[in-house]
Each structure stands twice: as C-alpha cells, then as structure tokens.
Symmetry: none
Subunit: 295 residues, 2 copies
Amino acid sequence: MISLEGYRIFLHTAKSGNLTKAAQELHITQPSVSYAIKQLEESLGVKLFNRLSKGVELTAEGRALLEYVEPSFSLLEAGETKIRSLKQLETGELRIGAGGSLIRYLLLPYLKHFRTRYPNIRIRLTHGKTPDLAKRLIEGQIDLGIVHMPFADRLLDVRSFMTIQDCFVVGEAYREWSERTLEAEELGRLPLLLLSKGSSTRQFVEQWFAAQSLPLEVDIELGSLELLIELAQLGFGAAFVTRSFVSKELESRSLYELPIREPIPERSVGIALRRDISLSEAAARFVETLTSPLP
Amino acid sequence: MISLEGYRIFLHTAKSGNLTKAAQELHITQPSVSYAIKQLEESLGVKLFNRLSKGVELTAEGRALLEYVEPSFSLLEAGETKIRSLKQLETGELRIGAGGSLIRYLLLPYLKHFRTRYPNIRIRLTHGKTPDLAKRLIEGQIDLGIVHMPFADRLLDVRSFMTIQDCFVVGEAYREWSERTLEAEELGRLPLLLLSKGSSTRQFVEQWFAAQSLPLEVDIELGSLELLIELAQLGFGAAFVTRSFVSKELESRSLYELPIREPIPERSVGIALRRDISLSEAAARFVETLTSPLP
DNA sequence: TCATGATATAGAGCACCTCTATGTCAGAGT
DNA sequence: ACTCTGACATAGAGGTGCTCTATATCATGA
C-alpha cells in the first residue's frame, strides 16, 4: 500500500519545486523528503520529478498526479476545517424533542440564550409525547429529549435537571377560594381544568388524586396549556399547572394559587439521552446550557 | 500533524461500520484499527464513532468528516489509476486493424509520427476487411479499426476522421484520355483495373456505376493496390484509386487523372471503437494523433 | 447463564521514517 | 580555472510510533 504521507510530501515538493524548501515547510529534513519522494516513485513505478541543478521539476506523470493529489488534500483540509468549526459550534445542528408545553414554558429562554450565543447552529424542535420522543431518540432522529420525570428506558440516560412544583390556580371569579388552606377533597367542588389524557402532567395529577383515594371529575380538558391558563383566568375553574409557568400571571394577580393542605409533590424535568452514543458538540453544549443557570 | 493513514482506516471503518471488518479489509489487526481511530479522534479533538455493542456508528462529526474524506480518497485513487494508465505508454501496446490499402497509403505517416512520439509502444497491425475488423474489435482483439465509411454497428462507435476523393488514373499509354472531360460511359472503352470483390472500394465503384445504370466490365482485378497502381503506370488501363494515395505519381507524371463529367462522390474514412470500453492510454493517444493534423 | 461477537487495553517488538554527516553535481562569479 | 554556493543523493544510526499477540471488558441474544 502506498504511504499517504508520501503524497503530502509530494504535494509540497511539487508546489515549491525544491526539496529543501519543502522540507522546511514540513518541518523535516531534506533527506527525509528525498527519501519519501523516492519511495513514492518506486511504489507508483514512475518518475515524478526531474532533478535539475536548481531544484526539481514535475515530469508529465508527476503533473498528472498532482492534478489529483492537490484537490484531494484540499478536501481533507476542508474536512479538518469543518470539524474545527463544528467543535467551535460555528456550524452544526441541534435536534431537540420536548413534550407538550415544555418547549414554550420551560425551554424557550434556554433556546433564546443558546441561539444568541451560537447563532449558526441550526436548531430543530420536535414536539411529541414522552414515549414518542424515546423512540426518536433511540432511532437517532433527535439528539436529546426534554421529558417529565420519572421516566426510564434501558437504552436511555435520563437525568433530572430542574424541579418543578405544580399547583391549582383560579381566576378572579374564584379568588376567595385562594384565601384559605383547602383540604384536597374540597377541590372536587370546583370545576377542574386539566390537560388531556396522555400527557405526563395529566397522569401526575391523576396519581395524586388516586393516592388520596379521591375521585377525579374533569370538567374541561385541553391539549394546550396556553388555553387552559386563559380559561382559568376567565373564571372557568381551577387549572392544574406548573407554578413557574404561570409566575407572571400570579404576580399580576390575574391568577391565584389555591393553598392546599396535602402538598403536591415536586416533580422534575429531565434530559433524556441515548446511553451508548456520545453527544454532538452542539448537543453537549446545550445540555451544559440547561444544567447551568441562565444569566 | 494528523496521520494520513488514520484517514484511510477511518474511511474503511466508516464504510463497514465495524472495526474488525475494516481491519480485515486493510490486512491489519483489529487493535491497530482501534488505535488508529483513537489517534485520529484525539488529533481532531472529536469523537468520530459511537461504539455500540454490535459495531460502530458515525457520530454527527464523523459523518461530517466522511463527506470530505471519501471524495478525497476517491481522487487519490483516480490519480493512481491515471498514473498506471500513463505508465502503459512506456510499455503498452496499440493494436490497430485496417482494411486493404489504408495501412500503407493512409495510416503510415501517422504510425511513423506516433512511433517517434511513443517509441516504447508496441504497435501491432492487423489486416482485414471491414466486417472482419468489426468482429475483432468486438472480441477485443484490436483496440481500434480504420474503416471506409459508411459503416455502422450497434456495439461500435464509428467516427469519420478524414474525407477522401477517388478517381480514375491511367499511365503514359492512355495519357490522351486525360486531356478532355470524359462522360462516364466512355470509361467502358478503357480496360478497367479494380480491387478485388469484397473490398469497400470495389463496392463503392460498383455502386457508382450502378447509380448511372452503366454496366461494369472489369478487366483486371487485384487484391493489392500497389500492384494495381503499377499496372496502371505500365499502361494496362484505368485504375480506380483514391487520389491522395497516388499524389506522388500524379505529380511526377507517371500517372494521369481522367477528368469525368459525373463527379465521383467523396467518401470518408473513420475510426471504429468499441462503444462500451474505455480506450487504453496508447489507443487514446493514437486517436488524438489521427484527429489532429500531422506536423 | 453462557456463548458470541464486538471494542479496549497492555506490553513487546520492530519496521520505517527521520536524523546527521557526507558525497556529488551543476552553475555562477571572480 | 577555481571555488563557492545551493541543490539532491546516499549511508548508517537511532528512535518513534505503529502493529502485533494476548487478554480484558462489555452488550446481546439464545
């Protein structure tokens, strides 16, 4: 097999027309260049250079070879440049999957920050429920998934990166309910606004009711958290939401949280990654972004 | 500096998705491949493969790199192929087939020129009639054929490269016939010297007579144009020949052309090649020689 | 639980490249 | 002519780094 280093030396020699100069460029000695050229000539079975008194000059065969070797090395160099720029996050893509409202209410500030910092990384977002995201992850269609915990899969590495606290909120119409601590069973006397079945949040609230042996009567169920919040504000009932997602509304008093004696346990949101593959540079950096506090 | 051998190993590994298989292809051992990939990854500072339990799989960065490395190596390989074919010019051979008198009267100057330019190419000449040449071409026994046009074959690429003009010539004995324009039918009053049946030239002259509804009475028919010309000079009659083949004799007035009212159409001579195989370097150069003017 | 088929690691060995030193040669300058 | 300069070639020593064998480790599927 032909030594590839020989081609690199050939290329420099051909371009400078001078073994000694080529040697300097390559930080090796002139005899090494001489040796390498000789090796290459012998492997190919043709003379590549005519040795003149003032340097070397390509033969017809050498010139023919150069026409291939030069672009070949340009490509390799371009490849190395590409890798460098991927490493510097000057290019690349980041494929994120996230469930329901997490993109809008939780991921958005991180995405904004990341996009400002690395404007040339193409961000692709995929919406999907947790099992769907798991499937996409395993198939390599997304780099990482953002899911409600608990969630586990043999092939996935899921690590919590944020805890969230859920609560019930009401609008002005039911404001008085927020002025004293309620027993859990009293909630049944209010119309309940929940996310549709199948969402992690819905599962979670169902479990909470079940844990206390309380029946759960749902009055309004919606796929969109946005709409849920709006209806709560309009006085349609008590909505089960993550507190931090409505912090603005709570501050501006367009929503009120219902204090409940039986505390709603904390949940956490996790990052799901394929266990056996390493992250792309962009994905790794995004995970860092997620796990360190926003400025 | 990055070891180029590493790229070759990377390429094979990426394509087979399996270090062990790549090692076999490269005739080295699996640990060597493992080592090389690791080296490359460390030099570039990125992981190129995810190690799975059933082989390896490119990472995003690896995939990006492959897009450059693969064409780069294709180029190198093409370069090596080119060199190999150029080398053939040092030792190769050129097998030409040509009909009848074409070798001697048309090809010879080109052959001389080619032989001077590429003295190490062994030239093999095959004599044969057009259909025979076609058969040899198709069977790969010759690289190219020189044939009278028109001629076509599904498997052959035939391109005209020279037009020729035929004429009737006589020796001193019939010189007076050359001093006025003859009607075609007057030719019948001269003894006619033609090439033997089966030759393209004979076919052509027969067609010409037939086109004018003239009977053709052949007095002397020979396989050799050389002899035909000699007999014409000796006054045996009018010979049908290609004008450029006897230009020397016409100049030196050992032969005279008969002016004829009905013009004899031009013919052309073509190069026949096999359509589906690429020419050897030597054959390609010879075709160049034929299609560009002699110095 | 075991067999299978992967990759990773450790450590020895040596091939091949690279170096230093020196030879050879052609051309320019005096 | 002679020498000086700048080039490439050759010889031989030396050491780096690749490659090998042997073995570990790990995941998967039966």
